[in-house]
Assembly symmetry: C2
Amino acid sequence: MSSTDRHRLIAQAVADSGSATVPHLAELTGASEMTIRRDLDVLAAQGVLERFRGGARTLLLRGEEPPWSLRVHEGLEAKRRIAAEVSRLIADGETVVVDSGTTCLEVARLLHGRPVTVMPLSLQAIQALSDAPAPTALLVPGGRPRTGEGALTGPLTLASLAALRFDTAVLGCCGLSAAEGMTAYDLDDAAVKHAIVASARRIVAAADGSKLGRTAHAYVGASSLVDQLVTDGSAPADEVAALEEAGTVVTTA
Amino acid sequence: MSSTDRHRLIAQAVADSGSATVPHLAELTGASEMTIRRDLDVLAAQGVLERFRGGARTLLLRGEEPPWSLRVHEGLEAKRRIAAEVSRLIADGETVVVDSGTTCLEVARLLHGRPVTVMPLSLQAIQALSDAPAPTALLVPGGRPRTGEGALTGPLTLASLAALRFDTAVLGCCGLSAAEGMTAYDLDDAAVKHAIVASARRIVAAADGSKLGRTAHAYVGASSLVDQLVTDGSAPADEVAALEEAGTVVTTA
DNA sequence: ACCGTAACGAACATTTTTGATGTTTGGAAG
DNA sequence: CTTCCAAACATCAAAAATGTTCGTTACGGT
């Protein structure tokens, strides 16, 4: 078993019952107690759980977004397929702003080396593009990165977006439905997405099926502001139909 | 011999005689020709040299700044000592802006985990601080990173600096002398340094001895704008005396 | 334009290095 | 006083670097 698999198993077990002891987790995973302790330290540093003497308790509130480290590896192929489709929609020479989030990170990775100008809104995506060869032009927005997430937000980010105009925006979203529009997990993020929408001529949303029909806490705008949606096979058909009805072109990767 | 040592040896040999053949470099380093070819590919990608069939020729113009990849490992201990001294000058709770450059990168590394607010002006430093735990607050400036260097410059950078005020600025410089003031390698960089100076109450310059008494191409300002200079034992005594005369507090690490 | 030689790069084998894991032991927390 | 923890060391596996071989490609001479 790989260490990330074990991490996921531990996080799951702790989240399910609220807490777990070191010996229990050692038996569950087949690893030694020392390894479990080291894993718990890592997960605690990621904000997934909280250590106490002898074990750990969960910090994940139901309904809240799970931390970045757990989301990256989840449904990677689906994200890659969606990202590939999004990348196909972007022509050489365009200027593109890429939102934060795990799906958008994959999009950024695919733009590596292509002759486009990219402004990514997360530290992870900036890092992925920082060693890109000549044809790719990187633009860094200002902002405060959210811990773990790496998503840039705040006045500096809004100012950077306001100072520029883009051909295409690649938006990730936490929730998207024809009825409730696009939603994000918190207001800061929603403000950034709003600024992105205002700065780009074409809005492409990248969202796996689980995001469709869902509604998160912070409202970004009506679904009609999305020109094109790229999703995967798990998208609910009725929601897709409703979005198409509202004027969004939907592509299934 | 480590691979970076060999890279440096190759870069040196090619720079010295303008060009070198693969067999010659293989004999010089004791490595196989295949390894030399792979090394040359790496160095070519870094912009250090240019491949031609059978060997490589240098791309380093005399007087021009050598590329980042060659500077990082040069005089590392001296840089670390200087950085440690700079770090000692920064109190907990301060807001700090850290310039680009290899010495400043070491300063950023030492601020990792300390209870300070930091805005680094290079991608490398941002990366070094991106996983910093809670007490450290990271602020990302906007800008266009220079390839290889990672130094952020341009209007977005200037705007980010103009929007903020800092307790302390840590400046790296290419040249510093009492007579000629502080100089940078190019105008964009000089403009950024100028903005840094305008946004910080206290200016700390970090420069090893080789920078003192030297003058680069782009003028930043008089040496008197530096409140405190941290340098090392290799600094020329007369230059240090002249800077102290002009009002700069000089510390030797 | 053709051909021979030398250089190149892909593929594989081998070595070195690095990172992860397990074990032991002294010390700290409850 | 018992249990848990973390540092130190040993061990193992994965990954990277390096060397070797061989088919292919580019250059120079004719």
